[in-house]
């Protein structure tokens, strides 16, 4: 797909729909309110940090967005449609939800190939993404021999198979060493510079502050703040100050 930009160099999406549009999204698990009337949308070409304390509903929201979990009320749309109604979703959206969603006895290459076959993506693309995340050398090894960092990269390779326009990552920096975090940050910036969009959940604020340009902060399933990071941190306050104040964690 051609990435278009307007006269100011800001990426323009092919259709008018926002990349992600979450409207009054609510999810109940019995009595537990996991996501509570949440609304936000993402523009193309941005890296949005989806922040909140543990148990705030970040993971549930991402699963609602990706059609794995059905909403109790409201809707979550990607490119104007619910995920489950997208044609060839792997070519539009890539996602890494857990750091180790692999069969331990399958090689990294075979894991990617099985996804590629189902998505009707040629195996040559498997080699490309293996190179992109720099794990060609271990591609033939079974995943059980992988370090956490290699697994994170393999997950990312799977998300990138379809050369998607939107990347959704749940806590991708967990367990990465400093070099891995640095690599991930550069990778996400490179990805977004092409007019593509990233939604990345995190509770590592210092890291998030260095990577993202927009934030959506939630607590108890509700949005407590959103906007451009620069505007939120205007006046010399750090993302951590704002986060702790809004989520009631300030001492």
């Amino acid at each position: 797909m051609v990435k278009r930009v307007d006269e100011r160099g800001v990426p323009v999406h092919a259709d008018a729909d926002p990349v992600v549009k979450v409207s009054s999204l609510t999810k109940l698990y019995g009595e537990l309110v996991a996501v509570d009337d949440l609304s936000f949308s993402l523009e193309a070409g941005t890296i949005t940090g989806f922040l909140g304390p543990n148990g705030a509903g970040k993971t549930t929201t991402l699963r609602l967005l990706l059609g794995l979990v059905a909403p109790t009320a409201g809707e979550a749309l990607v490119f104007g449609r619910s995920y489950r109604e997208l044609d060839q979703p792997a070519r539009r959206v890539g996602a890494v939800l857990e750091s180790s969603d692999f069969h331990p006895g399958r090689s990294g290459r075979d894991h990617l190939r099985s996804l590629a076959v189902a998505a009707e993506i040629p195996w040559s693309r498997v080699e490309e993404v293996l190179a992109l995340v720099e794990i060609e050398a271990v591609a033939e090894r079974r995943v059980k021999t992988y370090s956490l960092g290699m697994r994170q990269r393999l997950g990312l390779a799977g998300a990138l198979l379809g050369d998607p326009e939107l990347l959704v990552l749940d806590e991708p920096a967990n367990g990465l060493d400093p070099a891995g975090v640095h690599w991930l940050r550069r990778f996400l910036r490179w990805f977004a510079e092409q007019g593509r969009t990233v939604l990345v959940s995190s509770h590592m604020l210092a890291e998030a502050a260095q990577t993202v340009d927009h934030v959506v902060i939630i607590d108890h399933g509700r949005e407590v703040a959103s906007g451009r990071l620069e505007e939120l941190t205007d006046g010399g306050r750090t993302l951590e100050d704002i986060f702790l104040e809004l989520t009631g964690g300030a001492s």
Partner: protein, 247 residues
């Protein structure tokens, strides 16, 4: 079709299928030899007993095919690959259908090999003891082909049960307990209900390979009944899979 090819690749790319196949084959030879050398010559002279001994191929192929089918689903739950599977193919009914088709194909192979191995081992055991084999070409054909059909259909049942139960250990224990133990308790006149045992899936699978003439259903009736069980469990599993949340 893409989903079917993906499922076959998933099956090929771990050692699970090969492990199940080797275990099944070893148990077939062991079971046939235990019967063939353990039973009295008098017992073994009868057609019904010979069909039962030679039918250990069908029996074990059916169990292992059901386990293979179930694991095609439960292993994805256990290792979390179900998430990327459903992200690539959000139409979950297609995923379940592809698992049914792939498991039936592999189950057919399990059934053919196990059926043939049991017939070969059984004939060798009887010859070694100087006991005449009472079975003819038609019986052999039914034992081998019936084993293939029975295993294919039970593979589909396994996928359905796996999709319904989802958790690997309870699923596998449930399948083994049912086929190895529970059905055995329900043979004969149960609680005045009549001979309901022969209508159960394991008994229908045995009937397909020509075992228990007179006590079990006719082979063709067994095929129809087991196909019904396969369709019912697979459809129920697919429906449940489409509606449930994937955590």
């Amino acid at each position: 079709m893409a989903q079917l090819r993906a499922e076959l690749l998933k099956q090929r790319s771990t050692r699970t299928g090969l492990g199940l196949f080797a275990t099944m084959l070893g148990l077939v030879v062991l079971a046939v030899f235990l019967h063939g050398f353990g039973l009295s010559a008098e017992d073994l002279a009868g057609t019904d007993v010979q069909l039962m001994v030679f039918g250990r191929g069908e029996f074990l192929a059916a169990i292992f095919a059901a386990l293979l089918g179930a694991m095609s689903f439960t292993a994805e739950i256990r290792h979390g690959t179900i998430r990327s599977t459903f992200l690539v193919t959000p139409r979950r009914g297609r995923v379940v259908a592809a698992k049914v088709a792939a498991s039936m194909l592999i189950g057919t192979g399990f059934g053919l090999v196990a059926g043939a191995a049991a017939v070969g081992a059984g004939a060798a055991a009887l010859r070694a003891r100087g006991i005449d084999v009472q079975l003819d070409g038609g019986d052999y054909m039914l034992l081998v082909l019936g084993s293939a059909v029975a295993a294919a259909l039970l593979a589909a049942v396994g996928v359905g049960v796996g999709a319904l139960v989802r958790y690997q250990v309870p699923t596998l224990i449930g399948i083994c307990a049912w086929l190895l133990f529970v059905e055995g308790l329900l043979v004969g006149d149960v609680g005045g209900l009549g001979d309901v045992g022969r209508f159960l899936p394991g008994a229908a699978a045995a009937a397909i390979s020509g075992q228990g003439p007179g006590t079990l259903l006719a082979p063709e009736t067994g095929v129809v009944l087991l196909a019904f069980y396969a369709a019912a469990t697979a459809l129920t599993g697919a429906l449940a899979t489409s509606r449930r949340d994937v955590g």
